[in-house]
Symmetry: C2
Subunit: 241 residues, 2 copies
Amino acid sequence: MSLSKNKIKVIQSLQRKKGRIQHGLFLAEGIKVVQELVASSFELHSLYVTEGHEHHFDAELVQLVTEDELKKISTFKTPSGVLALFRFARIQDLQLDGLVLALDTINDPGNLGTIIRLCDWFGVKQLLCSENTVDCYNSKVVQSTMGSLSRVQINYVDLEEVLQKIPTPKLVADLDGENLYQAALPKKGVLILGNESNGIGTELKKLKDRSLTIPRFGIETESLNVATAAAIILSEFRRNQ
Amino acid sequence: MSLSKNKIKVIQSLQRKKGRIQHGLFLAEGIKVVQELVASSFELHSLYVTEGHEHHFDAELVQLVTEDELKKISTFKTPSGVLALFRFARIQDLQLDGLVLALDTINDPGNLGTIIRLCDWFGVKQLLCSENTVDCYNSKVVQSTMGSLSRVQINYVDLEEVLQKIPTPKLVADLDGENLYQAALPKKGVLILGNESNGIGTELKKLKDRSLTIPRFGIETESLNVATAAAIILSEFRRNQ
């Protein structure tokens, strides 16, 4: 079997958000990531492997391609021998019970990937993303989250609109809030984290009930990376539960 | 003034560890990072800017170059207009008092950069790196740590040898240790974190006095990124101090 020109074009289009939305598909590469996603709740659409990589998967799932073909559809400089397409998760109703994490305008795929893994680790089931937050099916996000992507429900929403309707307390992370280590943290609520450079948007900030600050022990440090801040705050929410 | 061929060659060599060690210099790019480093304890060696960027710095520091010249020495696809060379920090005696962080075989520059910023935030003055840990003067590390690089003392050492001589407790992070949230953490000690895939080396593990585990609230999550784990554990060390 070989890949048709048209199929190659479709797969290449998945490297852009527009193409992914058009086809409802995303792309994952590498044995480990693809194995995790095949075993997850994501529905496999196609699995392409080069010779020698068939034995990692059930024979009926695999389509053999040449190295030249894989090179055309891979996002890697050195393709790993395994590339798969999966269907988007079905859009589900928001699960606003318990602790929810909301992200405002997160641009960096690595940060989003790390935050999705953190949600999975700390049992945060619902992640709300502002519509301009980087796409969770971006291939860099997919590669860094691995299976976690299937275990955290991610919805892209008008954050202002959704947060206005949520009755549980809304907490933001900023530089002049309550000392995180001394604050009594609620079991139910929304933690809102903002953009890497600009923090949380002005309109969203108005919706906050409380703000939290991670105490600083160095003198001149300017700020923590948003994924690092998420790690510290989520850990603090869970430590007493 | 224009850059000689030889100077260009020297600057290009700084993109590799060998070249950096040979010249005792490292490279930083972008207004913000370079400004932070100029204001830090690092000694500036040369500062190259293209027209229109001179006003960000003291006039006597600046050497004007053309965009073509900057392109030749930049590590960026789209050079930012500002590139500087700094001398390595002088190697200082280890500061083993208080809380020390030790890294075994960390490969990813982004992880090392995040960890250096964390040390700065949480007031960890001494970072020990195994000799095969990624170079802290790697340009990706420099870009991500910004000024923090000058405020944390980093020594590359034979970890086994150094740790054997340290009298304070040695704690490792792994998956079957004490519950981090319930452990009484010492004020003085060394926290040892291991490689992204393989954890801490066998010989080093033998030196541990205790091991700590970050409790997991999800069911299937495999692991946390090492920089994320560092964030959570360092926060826990500091929260009660």
